[in-house]
């Protein structure tokens, strides 16, 4: 397991928490692009976590209130795929879970002014996420 101070390498995987309602398993594109949109307070980019810094992907659920944790799905995306989409990965240490990073290009300011470009990226991220789901919502 890597220390979160270690450099991020192209062979790493990043964990993304996905609200369960953004996933409809019966559809051709089950995970929706909305799962990769920034909240208004994510001016520095959407949150992800380095899989190399935790024992299991589920460990990053520690950032969510316990009663909401069962409602989350989890997917992983490779750093290489993110980079191929023109995205970067920036460490952003937090107290509640190790390996926290942000994707600076997917921030709430860009989301308002570059809607079309970001939507195209978010559709591709949703396609990748669908291939790499590691957990569906428990409720």
């Amino acid at each position: 397991m890597k220390d979160e101070g270690d450099p991020i390498t192209p062979d790493e995987w990043l964990v993304r928490l996905i609200w369960g309602e953004f996933l409809a398993p019966a559809d051709a594109l089950p995970v929706r692009p909305v799962a990769f949109r920034p909240r208004p307070d994510e001016t520095d980019g959407i949150s992800m976590f380095r899989l190399a810094c935790v024992s299991r992907a589920e460990d990053v659920l520690a950032v969510i209130a316990p009663e909401k944790q069962p409602r989350y799905a989890i997917t992983i995306v490779s750093v290489t795929e993110l980079v191929s989409l023109g995205l970067t990965v920036k460490p952003a240490r937090i107290e509640t879970a190790p390996g926290h990073v942000v994707i600076p290009e997917l921030n709430s300011i860009n989301a308002k002014v570059e809607k079309k470009r970001l939507e195209a990226i978010q559709i591709r991220l949703a396609e990748i996420a669908n291939q790499n789901l590691v957990r569906r919502p428990l409720e």
Partner: protein
């Protein structure tokens, strides 16, 4: 009273939304047995549930959509149903106080309609092999 511009009736074909029935005829008041009416009822029920959400509904601090945004989405849903459009594959609150509808009519096509403010929406049309299309809808009309 603000509402969706009547011009939107003219631009609905541009949105490439699937129709609920084959003849495509618009109906003023869909009957209970109209194809797709159950699905639209579920969509409207979902919107009413979204209207009850509070901030931090996801445990990560996402804001709830405002009543004005949800009501705009409700009016749009009723307009689309009246126009004979198929109910969306999914309707859900977004993480930025918005309401998202989407349709997946087949062939990898993905159409998303995101109500971002009172009578304001972005529409994205993704067709494999083609550039993503983006249209905006507002109370005063539509633009590409």
């Amino acid at each position: 009273m603000p509402t969706w511009a009547t011009r939107h009736l003219e631009v609905i074909p541009d949105l490439e939304l699937p129709r609920a029935h084959l003849n495509g005829a618009a109906q003023a008041e869909p009957a209970a047995d109209t194809p797709g009416s159950d699905e639209w009822a579920r969509t409207i029920d979902k919107l009413l549930a979204i209207r009850q959400l509070e901030d931090d509904w996801d445990g990560q601090g996402s804001p709830a959509p405002s009543v004005e945004v949800v009501d705009s989405a409700l009016v749009l849903a009723l307009l689309l149903r009246r126009e004979g459009i198929a109910s969306p594959s999914l309707v859900v609150q977004g993480v930025a106080g918005d309401v998202c509808f989407d349709w997946q009519p087949g062939g990898g096509k993905y159409i998303e309609l995101e109500v971002t403010g009172p009578y304001t929406a972005d529409v994205f049309i993704h067709t494999p092999g083609q550039p993503l299309r983006h249209l905006t809808l507002s109370g005063s009309g539509a633009a590409q």
